[in-house]
């Protein structure tokens, strides 16, 4: 089988400081990758470089589809959850889910279902009134609005309680079985079944 | 008067008498002004609008000052009752200010040949009207009523600065509008048979304000205390 994403020799320099060097990995459909590193080691920078939000110093990022055709990453459906979750304070929980890019044309029941899965009950509450963990759950509910090919999740487990942690582990497993891959970061190895690299 | 039920009982007794007195003074003043007082040699009968125009202008300003004092007390001492007074007074003040604008425009057409000009007194009166409207609008948008009271109090304290501008506008900038005739320091330039009915009207308007304020305050008190026992008690009695 061919990988969906193949990164070769990736290096990144920010303001004359090498953030990471010679990163190599492959992400196969339905498999996960966990990037482990301490604070400031460049995990966030790596994810953003792969997604084209930061220009790499050198290295190749290949996006391959089923027929071994090289593609621009834009033709892939990627989901990125960074430290900033992209949640609008002045929208309700429901609206925050409904009015995202992935969610176009999604019907009401599906939205309720997604929110229920992540345990968000007060769906008509403004997002500004939520706790930090509850905001993160909105973002997790977005994983479900449609099947993205690769999910890039920056520190999925931070600021969450044990219940939410195990919920995420189940979600990832479930999405893997549908052929979706996850690239996640963390400070220490998690329970998720994944290939691990450390930077 | 400090406690709501006490105020409620007290006001029930005073309201009829206050109403009667108001009616009496207003009738005398208006009849005197509109029918008995002599005609103005320049303007003819049109000038009689003055008997409504000037008292309502003075009321519109006084009520705002009253509200600002209430607001000040509310901000400094957090006295709940002052917040309620503020809320009760606002609609009355706004109505009087509207009356000034209307009577002024009606008066302006024959005397200045236009309904409206952008001069300092007229503009500042219009602004006073907007401030009233804003205070009322604001109060209704904030759900927590004590919070609403406080926000409105803050605004009314600042807002009161418009009053001297209205008062002084005719002295500071050349305008079409009449300069003051009523002053405390010097005797009026109007003849006494025009001036005294104006005074009576003014007293009548003040009484009317007191009457309306009491009525409004009763409503506000009932609304705020609607969960309390005494309100339920009163309601039961009144519906009987």
């Amino acid at each position: 089988m061919l990988p969906n994403l193949k990164v070769e020799n990736l290096s990144c320099v920010r303001s004359n400081k090498v953030v990471f060097e010679n990163i190599n990995f492959e992400v196969f459909p339905g498999e996960n990758l966990e990037i482990i590193g301490s604070n400031g080691s460049g995990k966030t920078t790596l994810l953003r470089t792969i997604l084209g939000l930061i220009k790499p110093e050198k290295g190749i990022i290949n996006w391959l589809d089923e027929n071994d055709k090289f593609n621009d990453f834009r033709t892939f459906e990627c989901f990125y959850q960074g430290h900033q979750l992209g949640i609008k304070n002045l929208l309700t929980v429901y609206e925050n889910l409904q009015l995202t890019h992935g969610a176009k044309g999604m019907d009401e029941n599906k939205i309720y279902e997604c929110l229920e899965r992540v345990g968000l009950m007060h769906i008509n509450e403004l997002a500004s009134n939520l706790s930090v963990g509850q905001r993160k759950r909105i973002s997790i509910a977005r994983w479900l609005v449609k099947n993205f090919k690769i999910y890039f999740i920056d520190e999925p487990f931070s600021a969450l309680d044990d219940e939410a942690t195990s919920m995420i582990e189940h979600l990832i497993q479930e999405l893997n079985s549908k052929g979706c891959s996850f690239v996640i970061t963390g400070h220490r190895p998690s329970q998720v079944k994944a290939n691990r690299i450390s930077i | 008067m400090g406690s709501p039920p006490l105020f409620y009982n007290w006001s029930s007794k005073i309201i009829p008498w206050l109403g009667l007195l108001t009616l009496l003074v207003l009738l005398i003043g208006l009849y005197w002004g509109l029918f008995l007082a002599p005609m103005d040699y320049k303007q003819g009968d049109v000038y009689r609008i003055i008997y409504i125009h000037v008292p309502s202008a003075i009321l519109g300003e006084s009520i705002f000052i009253f509200m600002a004092i209430c607001g000040f007390i509310n901000v400094i001492w957090r006295a709940k009752i002052s917040g309620m007074l503020l809320k009760a007074a606002a609609p009355i003040g706004m109505s009087f200010t509207l009356l000034v604008l209307v009577t002024g425009s009606v008066w302006g057409k024959p005397t200045w040949g236009t309904w409206w000009v952008w001069d300092a007194r007229l503009t500042s009166t219009l602004i006073l009207f907007f401030i009233y409207a804003a205070l009322i609008g604001l109060h209704s948008t904030i759900e927590d009523k004590t919070k609403a009271d406080r926000a409105v109090s803050i605004l009314s304290i600042v807002g009161v600065a418009i009053i001297p501008v209205i008062k002084k506008s005719v002295d500071w900038w050349q305008t079409l509008h009449q300069p003051s005739t009523f002053t405390i320091t010097s005797s009026p330039s109007m003849s006494p048979d025009m001036y005294i009915p104006l005074l009576v009207c003014l007293i009548g308007f003040y009484l009317f304000f007191a009457y309306m304020l009491t009525l409004n305050l009763r409503n506000v008190v009932i609304e705020r205390e609607s969960s309390k026992n005494w309100v339920k008690h009163v309601m039961d009695q009144e519906s009987k």
């Binding site: 997604l51 939000l53 609008k88 929208l91 | -």
Partner: protein, 224 residues
């Protein structure tokens, strides 16, 4: 293909309008600014009708221009800060559409209210009734162009280069101002004003694609 772009445009418009609606300052502040300017002039320059109505075109245009430049500074900054802009660049859709949607929203919450307020201003400043239509037409074209220009300025000043943004906005706002004023004052003296409108229309027609593309470039600068 096109269906997907439109449904995306739809989502952005809906979301940002909802937010603007909940945060009332977005549409109230420009209106208040407009009204302040318009009431200021008679007060500061005196209430003589002849002076006012001769200044009216200029005053209305200054007010409209300032008001429409007002909220534009923050057009991208919220999305940039909370990560929504990342989402746009990662999605499959062309970022061009995003910028266009943003400009459209900005116009809807500043330009459109100003259009209504300008009618009040026109009455207050004794502008003759025949000039209302030219005024509205020139305002529609002009404020849209200013929204476009402002968006580019905002994209540039996201990365803190405010001088650049000022340099872009300032020189282009003056021609717009002069052209818009000329439309109204020509109509006051019964002269032909279609030439000015045509130029404004042309500026807008070139501006929409060109400025949107430049704005995308400017936004990408923030992502290196």
């Amino acid at each position: 293909m096109f269906g997907s772009i439109f449904s995306w445009l739809n989502i952005i418009l809906k979301r940002d309008l909802l937010i603007a609606f909940r945060k009332s300052s977005t549409y109230i502040t420009p209106l208040v600014f407009f009204l302040i300017v318009v009431t200021f002039f008679p007060l500061a320059l005196g209430p003589q009708e002849s002076l006012l109505s001769s200044l009216a075109p200029g005053v209305i245009w200054i007010a409209a221009l300032l008001a429409s430049l007002l909220a534009v500074e923050t057009i991208f900054s919220d999305d940039f800060r909370d990560g929504t802009l990342d989402e746009f660049f990662i999605s499959l859709e062309p970022s061009f559409i995003l910028v266009f949607a943003k400009v459209l929203i900005h116009w809807l919450i500043t330009g459109l209210p100003i259009l209504f307020a300008s009618l009040i201003a026109a009455i207050v400043l004794y502008l003759p009734f025949e000039s209302f239509i030219p005024m509205l037409l020139s305002l529609i074209l002009g404020t849209s162009f200013m929204s476009l220009l402002g968006a580019l300025g905002a994209a540039l000043s996201l990365g803190r280069s405010a001088i650049l943004s000022a340099i872009i906005v300032l020189p282009f706002s003056i021609p717009t101002l002069l052209m818009g004023t000329s439309v109204i004052s020509s109509s006051l003296t019964n002269q032909d004003f279609s030439g000015f409108l045509m130029i404004m229309g042309a500026m807008l027609a070139i501006g929409i694609p060109l400025l949107c593309l430049l704005t995308v470039e400017a936004l990408l600068l923030n992502y290196e």
